[in-house]
């Protein structure tokens, strides 16, 4: 890693070869990340993947076992949390129960030694930003979950941190409020221009808010990219499986041509597929087929237009999901695949029933081949 990257003003948080061990257990290994200035960056992964450890290391609550940590080019791994211009929104909010909303928001400013008139002005600005004007004299216990969440945000943003860390801040809220807060958080990040580092296990949250996402598992970063890259071009099996629903089918490359390739599935069918670079005929791996990237048609309707047909099977199960129907199709060689069709008003697939023979048509670039 060269020092120009570290000192570059566009890199808010630089993480180089960071490791974290607890006794024999390695929570984080060889983490390298550059979080850009003014970016909404998400650490996404299942519980125990190390995302919270990494956040706590950035905040300064835990020391690293090895590696370097930079904030806008300055080394910070030896600074205690109260010396880092970084603030955190905690998972359980950690609001001070003995203080009013206003005192909670003012806490960091008091500790920084702001003058009381500056504090008053800033607190007023923050409460109007998070729309809590009527509640400033209440204690946290007198607020709803969503309001507490806003206080936690206002408190963390009041000291104008260079980076704001958010540790699963929406997980305690109910679904409606969570969806509303997603939009508000994203808006807040755009308006303030603060770099957000957001930790979540909820892929929908990550996809809908982030500029870039780092997918983590087993203490390693599996892939870093935009939501679209992560979803459409997963780097490996874990990412393909963790982000969204997908069908993973064993496959072997039989032909390489231009940007794509043809792969043979376990059913014996050969389909077109996207591939990573440098694959060769004979490479084995699997293809990821998103349920929504396939069209379902009754076998009888297709008739002679066999060229567009990729796979054939029998409907085994249909689940009605409101906006969609989810079909489970059994293919040849005992393989199963799941397909989602939108319930449009004219419902072309409405006539399909369990037991019907069907054909699957693949959308352009629906399949993505990945080596094991």
């Amino acid at each position: 890693m060269n020092s120009q990257v570290r000192s570059s003003a566009s890199v808010a948080v630089g993480i180089e070869n960071v490791e974290k061990r607890y006794g024999d257990f390695t929570a984080l290994m060889q983490i390298n990340l550059q979080i850009n200035d003014n970016e909404f960056f998400t650490l996404l992964g299942p519980s125990g993947c190390g995302k919270t450890s990494l956040l706590r290391i950035i905040a300064g609550f835990e020391p690293t076992s090895a590696g370097l940590l930079f904030l806008y080019g300055e080394e910070i791994e030896n600074l205690p949390p109260d010396k880092r211009p970084i603030n955190t929104v905690f998972q359980n909010y950690a609001l001070f129960p003995h203080m009013s909303v206003a005192d909670n928001i003012a806490f960091g400013l008091k500790m920084l030694g702001w003058s009381s008139s500056d504090i008053e002005a800033r607190v007023e600005q923050m409460v109007s930003l998070v729309r809590l004007q009527e509640f400033i004299h209440r204690r946290p216990a007198q607020l709803s979950g969503g309001q507490q969440q806003r206080v936690a945000l206002a408190r963390a943003m009041a000291p104008k941190p260079k980076v704001l860390l958010l540790d699963e801040p929406l997980s305690a809220l109910d679904l409606k409020l969570r969806q509303q807060m997603r939009a508000e958080l994203k808006q807040l990040q755009r308006d303030t221009g603060i770099t957000f580092v957001f930790v979540t296990h909820d892929q929908e949250e990550a996809l809908s808010m982030s500029d870039r996402i780092a997918v983590m598992s087993d203490g390693r970063i599996q892939q870093v990219g935009s939501p679209m890259q992560i979803y459409e071009q997963p780097a490996n099996r874990f990412v393909a499986d963790f982000i969204g629903d997908t069908n993973l089918l064993d496959a072997e490359i039989v032909e390489v041509a231009g940007g794509g390739a043809s792969v043979r599935l376990g059913t014996g069918d050969v389909i077109k597929s996207d591939t990573p670079e440098n694959v060769q005929i004979g490479d084995r791996g699997f293809v990821s087929l998103r349920p929504e990237s396939m069209r379902l048609r009754a076998a009888a309707d297709v008739g002679t237009d066999a060229g567009a047909v990729a796979l054939q099977g029998v409907i085994e199960d249909i689940v009605y999901l409101g906006t969609d129907r989810q079909y489970t199709i059994s293919l040849a060689s005992n393989l199963r695949i799941s397909v989602r069709e939108q319930n449009v008003a004219s419902g072309s697939a409405d006539g399909l029933h369990i037991g019907n023979d069907v054909c699957l048509q693949l959308a352009e670039r629906a399949a993505r081949f990945l080596v094991n």
Partner: protein, 303 residues
Amino acid sequence: MAGTIGGRTVSSTYAPVRGWLLLPSWAVIGVFLLLPMLLMLVYSFLTKEFRGGVIWEFSLAAYDQFIFDRGLFGDEAPSIEWTYITIFVRSIVQALLATVLCLLIGFPTAYYVATRPARTRALWLFLITIPYWVNLLIRTVSMKFLIRDNGPFNEALLGLGLIDAPFQLVNTNLAVQLGLFYSYLPFMVLPIYASMERYNASLSEAAADLYATRWQILRRVIIPVIKPGIVAGCILVFVPSLGAFLAPDLLGGAKTFMIGSLIEEQFKGNAGNWPFGAAASMILLSMVLVVLMLYARSQAKEL
């Protein structure tokens, strides 16, 4: 039937928190606490019998004796009687000192124990309570044995050459203080521990994240949040220290006399003065009530 459980109003057969559940405890409190206290209140306004006991004749003599000196035969012009006031002031000072000392030692202890892993915590609590399996009287006598002029404490200091003559502790206010502190320390540690254990450590992290130093975290977050435990500990130490008589009797002397001993003396043997003892008890009780009411008011203001 509606009731409240955990602050929520519930109405069903499963909220049968009816008044009669308190009946046994009302009976015990009534018979063994309120009745004797009423009796003492009445006694304090009666005339003394010289061999102990009372004559059923209204008199303010007990309270008068507490405050005024009217000479040996009661016929001189009244002047303020300082003896008992001095004893009361000494008792208050001793009780306050014991409370402060217990807080200074008890708070770090409770903090330490509460921040240990769950398994070790139980062991520490066990160790703290072990001495209290022995009767208070025995423990106080043992302490006297330890600190007397030719006891192990002085022998050790003499042996090390730190002092030339025994350091006199017995019969001093310091010894009484030591006895009070030792007797009531767990009453400080346990309530603070209980609050500390419920304390959410992420509050300290949040404070550090918001630029508070360790000292500021302690002063502005930890202490205010666990304040109910601290106040409970202080009351539990102050109130019994104020009325204590074992420590001043056994470790102290005439110059370290406290209210508890004064009251005890009035009811012991034939030489006592029951109305005077009862009056001193009532004055002590009113002082404790004032302290508790001030506390209750400060709590009410905060909510």
